[in-house]
């Protein structure tokens, strides 16, 4: 046997601090979400509520890992993990601060100027400043390296032209982190950079792209001769590809990758009552078993982040398996209880199913499609 196969998910040490924090977060959410409807909870990390973001910012639950001098709280990746999984499981509306907390803030902390960090990070941590992720374009989705938006040097900075697409919540965001071409040449992955873009800059037009449900999350962000200052360049010029890839590791491994359908599961159990039939009991146990194992894996990735290891491969595995589970939950639920999916229903399961069934196809698309993730895993196995 010559091939070796070792993709380990190291165990995470027990943390009493995290356990205490969990109960604190749980108690806070129980109060805050007391009257939140199941269909709103089902929105998972697409629920947008600035008041909620400010409230948890005040409690120190945004920017938890960042240094205190930038408004952060100097806590561990494992403590952050506890907070976000509690919020997702409870169906809290985290969307406003979500991208800034998860990836844009960490990117600023790593690549931003001292002035940018001092000005922006504390506002993110207070739950007041929101970010959009400017990666996809009309002709660049999975093949992100093919972006055509381009920043060209000027005497005092850059001028940008191009279009970003599927930009979630850009219409509410203050900033966007833009991924675009800066150099010409043959190198497919080279020649790109990241920029911090104030969305109030002249020349930026944000147009809604309504989803199949009629909701407005997505946008088309058109940039026409947008002038950016020199210090808008984030990180190293030409190194955008590597920066984006490391950002995606954060994006791929979290509990949002297996909890998107959790409200359906809760409402299913409510419908089934304390003594379901054999088929339903088995289904609940089977879903919980898979969730428990995925939680352990996702938690392990948080532990690897804390230990400054690169979990890109493990993150891809968690997201791939998580999306399968998230997509199966509504399919299993609908066959166990005789309810019609109906967004206007007063029945929690019916309404949650209506939301989740319509969004479930996105679970294996957003943040890296199933096919791309499996390609990453194959590369990790040395096959490509």
């Amino acid at each position: 046997m010559t091939a070796s196969f070792d993709i380990s998910f190291p165990a995470v040490p027990v943390s009493p601090e995290a356990d205490t924090l969990r109960l604190e977060v749980r108690a806070f959410l129980r109060e805050w979400l007391r009257d939140r409807e199941p269909i709103k909870k089902a929105e998972s990390w697409n629920g947008f509520d600035p008041a909620f973001s400010r409230a948890i910012g005040a409690r120190g639950w945004i920017g938890m890992r960042w240094p205190k001098e930038y408004g952060g709280h100097g806590r561990s990746a494992l403590e952050r993990y506890v907070v976000i999984e509690e919020m997702l499981a409870a169906g809290a509306p985290v969307a406003a601060h979500w991208f800034a907390d998860r990836q844009s803030g960490p990117a600023l902390l790593r690549y931003g100027t001292e002035a940018q960090r001092r000005e922006i990070l504390p506002r993110i941590a207070r739950g007041e400043c929101y970010f959009a992720v400017g990666m996809s374009e009309p002709d660049s989705g999975s093949d992100l390296a093919s972006v055509r938006t381009r920043a060209v040097d000027t005497a005092d900075g850059f001028v940008v032209n191009g279009t970003k697409l599927w930009t979630s919540f850009a219409h509410h965001a203050h900033y966007m982190i833009l991924f675009c071409k800066t150099e010409s040449g043959e190198d497919r992955h080279g020649g790109t950079s990241q920029f911090l873009v104030d969305l109030a800059t002249p020349g930026i037009e944000i147009r809604p792209i309504l989803m199949l449900t009629g909701e407005h999350h997505f946008n088309e962000v058109v940039l026409r001769d947008v002038h950016l200052p020199k210090d808008a360049l984030l990180g190293k010029r030409g190194d955008g590809w590597n920066q984006v890839m490391s950002e995606l590791s954060f994006e791929r491994s979290g509990p949002e990758r297996f909890l998107s359908s959790f409200t359906v599961l809760v409402e299913l159990l409510r419908e089934l009552g304390p003594r379901p039939d054999a088929r339903s009991t088995l289904a609940i146990g089977r879903i919980a078993a898979r969730m428990a194992v995925l939680r352990r894996m996702s938690h392990s990735v948080a532990g690897m982040l804390e230990a400054s290891k690169d979990p890109a491969l493990q993150a891809a595995i968690v997201k791939d398996l998580g999306a399968v589970l998230e997509q199966e939950i509504p399919e299993i639920a609908r066959l166990l209880v005789n309810v019609q999916p109906d967004p206007d229903s007063l029945n929690g399961l019916s309404a949650a199913l209506a939301y989740t069934i319509q969004h479930a196809p996105s679970f294996s698309i957003r943040g890296g499609t199933r096919e791309i993730l499996r390609g990453i895993i194959a590369r990790g196995l040395g096959l490509r």
Binding site: F262, I284, G285, A292, D320, E371
Partner: protein, 344 residues
């Protein structure tokens, strides 16, 4: 697991568990050299945590030995013997040499005097060769006794990997053997869960092995002018296989921890459910990727896949454990669901 222990155990299995040994074991030959070397290395005592018979190996490492046993598909009851010796010493009895198996089944009953033990137990691993450690209820309390090879008759059977799974018919005079109460915190379902935890580790080891074999094979097999592992369709399948193997490995870790924490049932129930399901998915992909070669008796894949198809059933399959888990979750209700899942 310590590097020294891992390489020592790997060497024992690699040296004494060739494909030829595995084939002869399928035909009923006992691999004496493999067993003797394992015993000389102390492996059957690895789960004993403290006391004079302990190897001084942490529980997690003992489960890594079990995982290696799964990886090499060793055709001896090493995990069963480890568990039986653990049970004997936890009950204040002496560990025993030779292969052992613990039998905990409510079908084993004592008569009114409490001295005669009878019952018929199916599918006992290596029942034809292992010394039996029996658990049974007497005067309302669970007890354990080392029966050795006395007091039962054997009807031979096997699982599909041709590992002995024999029907034992007991008629034992308990006056002739030492009987001790089961230690606190151990009961019938926990012994079944302990067995399930061992199977999780064996499954994880076998999945690690078939994943490596499949990556190897698809890298060597050339069709349409290139190794088939260069085709995207094949790569996507291998990625799923690796994901299932990695996840089953996490499930096995979870089960091993749960054993160390006093046999926590919910974690083992979840782990065995997950590992059982992964075993089926992964065995299917491994065979698909091997084509006809995987069906050849001479090629070693089937030693693992046949065990996977057997082990996922033994000590409770996905239906048994997910039903157990689901009943508990449903009884505590929708609003407790998340708290219960985080407590698994």
């Amino acid at each position: 697991m310590s590097e020294i222990l891992s390489s020592m155990v790997t060497r024992v299995f690699a040296d004494h568990c060739s494909d030829a040994v595995a084939l002869r074991a399928e035909e009923g030959e006992w691999p004496e050299a493999l067993w003797r070397t394992s015993e000389e290395a102390g492996l059957p005592l690895a789960l004993i945590e403290t006391g004079e018979h302990s190897l001084g190996v942490p529980v997690e490492d003992a489960f890594q030995i079990v995982r290696l046993a799964g990886k090499f598909a060793v055709p001896v009851p090493l995990p069963e013997t480890m568990l039986a010796n653990w049970l004997l010493t936890r009950s204040g009895l002496e560990p025993q040499s030779g292969p052992l198996v613990a039998v905990a089944n409510p079908a084993l009953r004592t008569d009114e005097s409490g001295t005669r033990l009878t019952g018929e137990i199916p599918s006992v691993p290596w029942g034809r060769r292992a010394g039996v450690v029996a658990c049974f209820e007497r005067s309302g309390m669970l007890h354990v006794a080392y029966l050795g090879r006395d007091g039962f008759s054997v009807r031979e059977g096997t699982n599909i990997a041709r590992e002995p799974r024999d029907r034992l018919v007991f008629d034992v005079d308990l006056n002739r053997t030492a009987v001790a109460p089961l230690p606190a915190g151990v009961d019938g379902i926990r012994l079944r869960a302990a067995g399930a935890a061992l199977r999780c580790s064996q499954i994880a080891g076998a999945l690690e092995s078939i994943t490596a074999m499949t990556i190897d094979y698809t890298g060597q097999r050339v069709q349409f002018g290139r190794p088939i592992s260069k085709f995207q369709a094949v790569q996507q399948n291998l990625a799923v296989l690796a994901g299932q193997a990695a996840a089953a490995s996490s499930a096995a870790d979870m089960a091993a921890e749960a054993f160390a924490e006093g046999i926590r049932l919910c974690a083992i129930a979840a782990a065995k459910t997950f590992a059982g399901e992964a075993a089926g998915v992964a065995a299917g992909i491994a065979h698909q990727m091997h084509g006809a070669m995987g069906f050849s008796r001479e090629y070693a894949l089937h030693f693992r896949t046949k065990r996977l198809w057997s082990w996922r059933e033994e000590y409770g399959n996905e239906t048994e454990w997910s039903t157990w888990l689901g009943e508990g979750l449903a009884s505590r209700g929708a609003d407790q669901l998340w708290a219960e899942i985080t407590a698994i």
